[in-house]
Amino acid sequence: MQAASAPVQIAGNFLGNLVKRRGLILNLVARDFKQRYVGSTMGWLWAFVHPVVLLVSYTFVFSVVFKVRLGPEAGTSNYAIFLFAGMLPWLLFQETVQRSANSMVDYSNLITKSVFPSELIPISIFLSNILNHVLGMLILLVVAASFTGTLSAMIALLPVYIVLLGLFTLGISWLVSSLNVFLRDTAQLLAIVLTFWFWFTPIFFTADRLPERLRFLADWNPLAGIVTAYRDCILLGRWPSGADLARLALISIATFIAGGLFFRHSKRAFGDVL
């Protein structure tokens, strides 16, 4: 507590804790992953089914019914693949944030009855969602490769973006999860914010379709940067813009630190409120 003025020490403590508590994190991730499929016969295979269903549905609606054709700037003429590449990072973000919002309340008996490092809960939710994300990614890569015949080496850059997305997502998750402890309306409000956020992010469209005066929506929205970068890497096979990457990294790291500090500050009162 006294070390609040030493950022290096805070960061060191946090990282040290991550390493020390890796057993607990793994346990929470396994628990979270299992909890979703607990009691079902197919188990984790459901994690594979969901993205396939999504992709098939998109293909039906946009490629069969609407016959949407895309320009060369999209990287693929298949709208379903284009859309799927944008949906994957968004879903990772949305699910983590949404489930984190209620997580402190869900884990309240652990938080109030044992010495529990509650900051690990959003981390474990993110890691558990990553497993789904990677499955979806594999499907996307296979489909995209079979559709275009090649696979760009640029996909090696994806982990960088996943890490940045993770930092941003965790920052937001810490913020909403601690706010929700004090104000249960947070989770409700979050659902509305996320709806807007989804439609203002270039997922159904490319960022350059935005009118010039609304372009800032894509510039300052880390999700827009991530979605665009995913498409650049997977569909277009080109280097994402370095300036965009720098801005994305800056916002993500800033959000991560701000969310973490807010959580750290408000965490002390969790035991009293929950």
Binding site: G23, L24, N27, K34, N109, L110, I111, S114, F182, L183
Partner: protein
């Protein structure tokens, strides 16, 4: 490792009218106050050396559980410092820290991980945990299918097997059956021998006396006394009884009817006007129970049931409507809920007068107690209207008062009958031995 230093610790809970006030205060950095303070602990200082078994006693709401939570590091103190040396394993509430959807095994691993054990360490300790919990195949079933006794067995098994330096136990022992309690007691003695510091809360004076080397008595968040268990417990019980009698008001409107005499007569103006506990209450409420008290020969309220001594069960009632044929009585149960004995005015051939609305009566039952197993015994008072064969319950309070029986000599079963033993030998010399039980 294992010592606990509590220095000048106070804990206040801010009381907020709205949850959002709390957030406002957090965000404004406590510049403006949006709350009132409730002090759960005030300036408590306790030194607990390594290896001590330390008991905490006090009324409900005296701050015992808060103190355990502070030691466990779940809550931060408002003032003062709590310094704990070593790993703390806390058994704070029944089944807390268990996810009901998951199997006992999964929960063991999660709990171990929370306590900072690696998977390999838990893997190593798991057989010991499973064997101490003795829940058999249930260990692979979801915890929601467990009985409360099974939950506490598993929780206790985890808490003691993870090799803590300090073990905190909050009234968890009260849940298990006698067999399990005895094993827990043995285990606590064993942990004590291993040099583990044990801090526990109990309402059972005999548990505290038999386990603890030092006892602290908390009252309204303050440390009243800390020291030798016999002294502290004696003062604590005396205080509780004294406090209880302060509740009693003198009322000239009360009439006391003594059982055991042929004609009801008015004796003491005293009424019992306190109901220490209500587990469940029902009845028509044509009359209500005002209070119940257990008194000794001199008419003082007692905190423990004596062995082989006369006690008085005093029940005061008030009629809220006319009651033509009132019967007042009680049932005595042991800690497992087994009905041991009971009686009422009709069974003792006492005909109470008809009550008019507003009448207050006190009935004293003078009992000669047998020797009892040193467990908790509860009394359930009732007032009915009618006869032994056909009656309507006006008011009945399940387990209105609970007392611990004093420790006497060994009792087989729940009680010892007054007994005379005579041995006859049909040989050359005739020997007769009369032994008073």
């Amino acid at each position: 490792m294992g010592a606990v230093h509590i220095r000048g610790v106070s804990k206040s809970y801010p009381i907020y009218d709205r949850p959002s006030d709390r957030l406002k205060e957090l965000l404004t950095g406590n510049r403006r106050s949006y709350h009132r303070d409730y002090w759960a602990l005030r300036d408590v200082s306790i030194e607990i050396p390594k290896g001590t078994t330390f008991g905490l006693v006090g009324e409900n709401g005296s701050g015992k559980s808060t103190l355990l939570q502070l030691i466990a590091g779940i809550l931060p103190p408002t003032q003062g410092t709590v310094a704990v040396e070593g790993r703390v394993s806390a058994l704070l509430e029944l089944g807390s820290g268990f996810n009901p959807e998951f199997s006992g095994r999964d929960n063991v691993f999660l709990n171990g991980a929370i306590l900072g054990l690696s998977n390999r360490e838990i893997e190593r300790l798991y057989p010991a945990i499973a064997s101490f919990a003795e829940i058999g195949e249930f260990i692979n079933q979801p915890v929601k299918t467990y009985s409360s006794g099974m939950v506490v067995r598993l929780a206790f098994a985890v808490a003691i097997t993870v090799e803590p330096d300090i073990l905190l136990v909050d009234e968890a022992l009260a849940v298990g059956d006698i067999y399990f309690r005895q094993r827990c007691m043995r285990k606590i003695h064993e942990l004590h021998r291993k040099g583990i510091t044990i801090i526990f809360v109990s309402h059972s004076a005999s548990d505290v006396k038999s386990l603890a080397q030092t006892v602290a008595w908390l009252d309204q968040g303050r440390l009243l006394e800390c020291g030798d268990p016999d002294d502290v417990i004696a003062h604590y019980l005396a205080f509780m009884v004294n406090k209880d009698s302060q509740y009693r008001k003198q009322s000239s409107a009360a009439a006391a009817i003594e059982t055991g005499t042929s004609s009801p007569r008015v004796t003491a103006p005293e009424i019992a006007d306190r109901i220490p506990n209500i587990d469940f209450r029902y009845g028509t409420r044509e009359a209500e129970i005002l209070g119940i008290a257990i008194l000794n020969e001199s008419g003082e309220e007692i905190g423990m049931l004596p062995q082989k001594a006369p006690v008085t069960v005093r029940i005061s009632v008030r009629a809220l409507a006319p009651v033509s044929m009132p019967i007042v009585g009680f049932m005595m149960r042991n800690h497992l809920g087994l009905e041991l004995a009971g009686t009422n005015t009709a069974l003792e051939d006492i005909q109470l007068p008809s009550f008019n609305a507003g009448d207050v009566y006190t009935v004293d039952f003078h009992l000669e107690l047998p020797e009892l197993y040193p467990a908790h015994f509860s009394f359930t008072p009732a007032i009915s209207n009618g006869t032994l064969e056909a009656f309507e319950v006006c008011d009945l309070i399940e387990n209105a008062i609970t007392l611990q029986a004093e420790k006497g000599r060994v009792v087989y079963g729940y009680l010892h009958f007054p007994c005379k033993v005579r041995v006859n030998a049909v040989a050359k010399t005739q020997v007769s031995v009369a032994q008073k039980a």
